[in-house]
Amino acid sequence: MRKYARTLDGLLAHAHLFDDRPFLLGPGGTALSYAEFLGRVDAVAAWLQAHNIQRWDKMGVFLPKSAAEAMATLAINRLGGVFVNLSSKTTPGRAAEILRECELKALFTTPHMARELVSTAREIGCQLITVPGKAAGVESTGWADIPDLAARPGSLAAAVDNDLAAILYTSGSTGRSKGVMISQRNFLDATARVADYLELSPSDRLLSVLPLSAPWGFLQLTTALHSGASVILQPVAFPVEIVRSVRAHGITGLAAMPPTWIQLVDQLENDGESLPELRYITSSGGVIPPRILEAFPRVFPNARVYLTYGLTEAFRTTVLPPEWFARKAGSLGRPCPNVDIFVIDHGRGLCGPGQRGELIHRGAAVTLGYWKDEEATRAVYKSCPELRPYIGDEVVHYSGDIVETDTDGFLWFVGRRDALIKVAGYRVSAEEIEIAAAESGLVSQAVAFAQPDPVFGQAIHLAIEPLAGQPFDADQFLSHCRRTLPTHMVPKRLHAWDESMPRTGTGKIDRHAVIRVHAGSPGASAGSADITIVSPSPIS
């Protein structure tokens, strides 16, 4: 009898149903059947167990998109452990902080990164496993040296569905990136609802363009395991490479964020081509411009379009069903099954159609909070006074997104409650950029803000006040930013003030006044990321 999977380990056991089918095609042509993939996951899990890794231990995965990345991540869950998958954009400095913050017991990474992180790893007792082989001069185990097993091991650890499965880092509206604690239930529930609405089957072949360090990218693996589909890993998201892969592998499903859709559609339209292979396409992570949405039926003639919404804190929670695409394109859709969504007008109550309020998540999609950040957790994971008559003091998640519902029950995005910036689907905190700017020792004040960008949605601009009495060296400043910030957070344009920025009555920088001065000034055009210094005219 088939067992109901409540944990990722259970999902892996279920996936043996598809043993003789192809599961994964990695970069460089590595093709693995379900049996081969699951066997290797077992081997890595058994090796970890033999090296004193237990339930609840945290282990990191810091690898480029590859079969090894997928296998390491799932092997950690096979043991009831917690995986911490670091985005390839994480700087070595931030990675070292995360190693400490999460007290990682093991880290899967490249020999190059192992050399960067070896002293931190030694200090906290974190074992290094390097892919593909042992790192010269660093105490580590080579991925290739982990032996395969002769037989399938049974259960390696008991996990329950409320166990922590992963800590995935994302920017909040303030301060450093935060580790979102995701439970086994969060993943399993999302896997079932996404596989259901996409109607996935063993004949589907998904192209994995999204990073596995984001829940949505990881769900492509789990929804495939759930339904017997195959996954083709695509490490480079150039439109030409996506088109090539879709054709070469007969891809049926493509999930991507708006910047990819914009570039891909422009390219296909420009060449007068289409991708009839695709059975469905699905987008999340921001708004797609109307001209691109309008081109979808031409360039993806056989594709059902699923526009979706979600956050790392509550992922894949709404979907616009394809049959509504023509009438409601641009909407966030409706709540998925088993997801409760409320729109709240603070202090007043629930919003009716046409009334703006904050989107609140309730139910199995709500994650467990931020790792070791009680204050940030309490700010958005809390009970909701407006819902008390119905659910008492149950904890819900405050998204920070302002939305409104139309008379047909569809949700529409209106704006953010805070200063969160979104670049190419990546959340960026203005404060984190300002902290990095201050740490350069070259500026006395900095204000980060967003300006519209045709491809990436928003671009980061930074207004700075150079240190008094020193000539400002923009190259040196930007090179500091590049060393200490992930690339998507490096300012695209600098606005250097040759006089003091406006202050409020208490002497603090008046952010809004600074941003107002620059609001009309030009953003760098797409295709040119040159950073130039502009000097605003003095404020009268």
Binding site: P64, S88, F238, D266, Q267, R482, R483, T487, A526, A529
Partner: protein, 81 residues
Amino acid sequence: MNLDTPTLAGFLSAKFSIDPAEITPATPLFSSGLLDSFHLLELISFVEERAKIRISPGEISLDNLDTPERIVRFVERKQAP
């Protein structure tokens, strides 16, 4: 103007803080994850300006841009009369 692999390596290390020792003519830049889509835009601007060519979206492929030597060969083909 011509573009050679040392010039490219110099640009990559100066602009993106990559260890110059890591960049050989055959180093995969994008398929290895060393560079991402944000770097791509800056790399294209640099190559366009330096070699006085225009790169169309359809030419942004791994065949043309994944390693310094591929970039140099691609530029030479574009510049050929």
